[in-house]
């Protein structure tokens, strides 16, 4: 296989995922409604209760709406990552996963391409959300919209890889909802998405430590700092490490000799 053929394969997978996304408009609106409800209703209601002190990367007091924007952007990536893993389970049940797996390209390349396609679709959703937030008067620095792009892609890949790993051992679509309840909500709430971690430390040091090492917290903080023209190296390192771990686990899960597929009797 030549580099051109590799690119053609990637392009084919990107186009397919893009078309699927376009054909499922309700998925697009559904993914936007969730964070917008948090922004328009939850944040407005809790603005006066949940005060936020001056913490990096902010240089002044900010409104609660502004604080939760990176968390909600990460929430879109998280749900989108899980949505793609849901589509992997669906693809497997419908047989189209087999089509992908019998391609002569390396399996890691195929899975990575699928992951990249899912991350790109998610990033588009985040930008639409950021545009709506801008209209809602939440306006990070203009350059932040550019700097946040690689952070969003990286976090999208990391959360997508987590979904990919989960999909490798979920046999049926029906089992998916249960697993999601044990992944999405704990990850989201035990993070810095909705409240700064110092507030959690005031309540429980143990919970604070859990939140600190939650990969979703690293994703939120990486997005938060990038959106405000800054770099959080610890968050970047954490996201990269989590990406490597989840990706490794996902590739293991989809390995025909070692992974879960044989035990689950189906791909």
């Amino acid at each position: 296989m030549t580099p051109g053929q590799y690119l053609g394969c990637l392009r084919g997978i990107l186009v397919r995922e893009g078309l699927r996304f376009v054909h499922q408009r309700e998925r697009f609106f559904g993914s936007l409604v969730r964070p917008l409800v948090w922004l328009f209703i939850f944040a407005a209601g809790f603005r006066s209760i949940l005060g936020v002190s001056i913490i990096p990367p902010y240089h002044t007091y900010i409104l609660y709406e502004e604080y939760i924007i990176p968390g909600l952007a990460a929430m879109i990536l998280l749900f989108s990552g899980m949505q793609s893993s849901l589509s992997m389970v669906y693809d497997r049940e419908m047989g189209s996963m087999r089509l992908l797996m019998v391609s002569p390209f390396p399996r890691w390349y195929l899975l990575l391409s699928k992951l990249a396609a899912g991350a790109l679709v998610a990033v588009i959703q985040v930008y639409v959300f950021l545009a709506i937030a801008w209209l809602w008067d939440v306006r990070p620095p203009v350059m932040g919209y550019l700097y946040v792009l690689p952070a969003l892609l990286l976090c999208g890949l990391m959360l997508g890889a987590l979904g990919l790993f989960l999909s490798s051992f979920i046999r049926q679509l029906e089992n998916f909802a249960g697993v999601m309840n044990f992944v999405i909500f704990p990850m989201f709430f035990a993070s810095s998405a909705l409240y700064p971690l110092w507030r959690i430390r005031d309540s429980s040091v143990a919970l604070y430590e859990i939140c600190r090492f939650n990969p979703f917290t690293w994703a939120v903080e990486l997005i938060r700092f990038s959106l405000y023209d800054q770099m959080n190296w610890i968050a970047l390192g954490g996201v990269l490490a989590a990406l490597a771990a989840f990706l490794g686990a996902a590739l293991y899960g989809y390995d025909p000799g070692r992974g879960m597929m044989t035990r689950k009797q189906g791909v």
Partner: protein
């Protein structure tokens, strides 16, 4: 009419074992499919045909024995081995939300076909199966028979040298079944493609076809269909199959 005797082995399965955690599915399965030959893998539901296909296509790895495609071991040279294969799975694999054209283009991308060739190949394929005017319809708008023929034609897009078809005619009416069989046999004769055709429908077997009868995970008989009938002292494939699988041989 004399027919050239094929010599190259397209698929070689040698003493393959496979078991799920609580169930043994295949035991010491061995047979070969020569290039350009139509080989029927005949077995009842649950005989192990689909598991065997999963092993050949490297979705699973066999626990003992070996599988080689044109001499390339599926375990060690998986990508090379897969590059020779066209596969039609038992489960439909078309993306129903994409158009007919998009489905075929996606397949071409997965098999590394150059972009400049894709348009022509897709058009030619659709014309050959009478679906040229449906190129922009969503796959879900096609009938069951049309979808199956599309999947089959798609499997030929990258000019495979070995076609695996896992019960592709199940659930179709007799005319669709015949059309699909004719299409594959033509590909086999014209292009010299080796075919492994899994089915439980005995009327899809011709006397000159290579036949492998599989039952409860073991190969019960192999040879041409005529040879298997002679060995079992029966007068039809149906009788031979029943006598080998514990059914009523009459």
């Amino acid at each position: 009419m004399t027919r050239e005797v094929p010599t190259t082995v397209a698929l070689e399965i040698e003493r393959v074992d496979f078991a799920y955690p609580r169930r043994c599915v295949l035991q010491k399965v061995s047979f070969t499919v020569p290039e350009g030959r139509f080989c029927v893998l005949l077995g009842l539901n649950g005989a192990g045909k689909t598991t065997l296909f999963s092993l050949i296509t490297r979705l699973f790895l066999c626990q003992a024995g070996s599988i080689r495609i044109f001499g390339h071991d599926v375990r060690r040279q998986g990508r090379r081995a897969l590059s020779y294969l066209g596969v039609v799975f038992q489960q439909p694999t078309l993306d129903l939300d994409l158009t007919v054209h998009q489905n075929l283009s996606y397949y071409c991308a997965l098999h590394g076909l150059p972009r400049r060739e894709v348009g022509g190949k897709v058009k030619g394929t659709l014309r050959a199966i009478g679906l040229a005017d449906r190129a922009n319809d969503k796959a879900r708008e096609l009938s069951g028979g049309q979808r199956r023929r599309l999947e089959l034609s798609r499997a030929f897009l990258h000019r495979p040298r070995l076609l695996l078809a896992d019960e592709p005619t199940v659930g179709l009416d007799i005319q669709s079944r015949q059309a699909i069989l004719r299409q594959v046999r033509e590909g086999c004769d014209r292009d010299g493609v080796g075919v492994l055709w899994a089915t439980h429908l005995v009327d899809e077997v011709r006397p000159e076809d290579a036949l492998v009868v599989i039952h409860e995970g073991t190969v019960r008989a192999q040879g041409t269909a005529a040879q298997v009938m002679a060995e079992t002292s029966t007068h039809s494939v149906h009788q031979a199959f029943n006598s080998l699988t514990g059914g009523d041989p009459t």
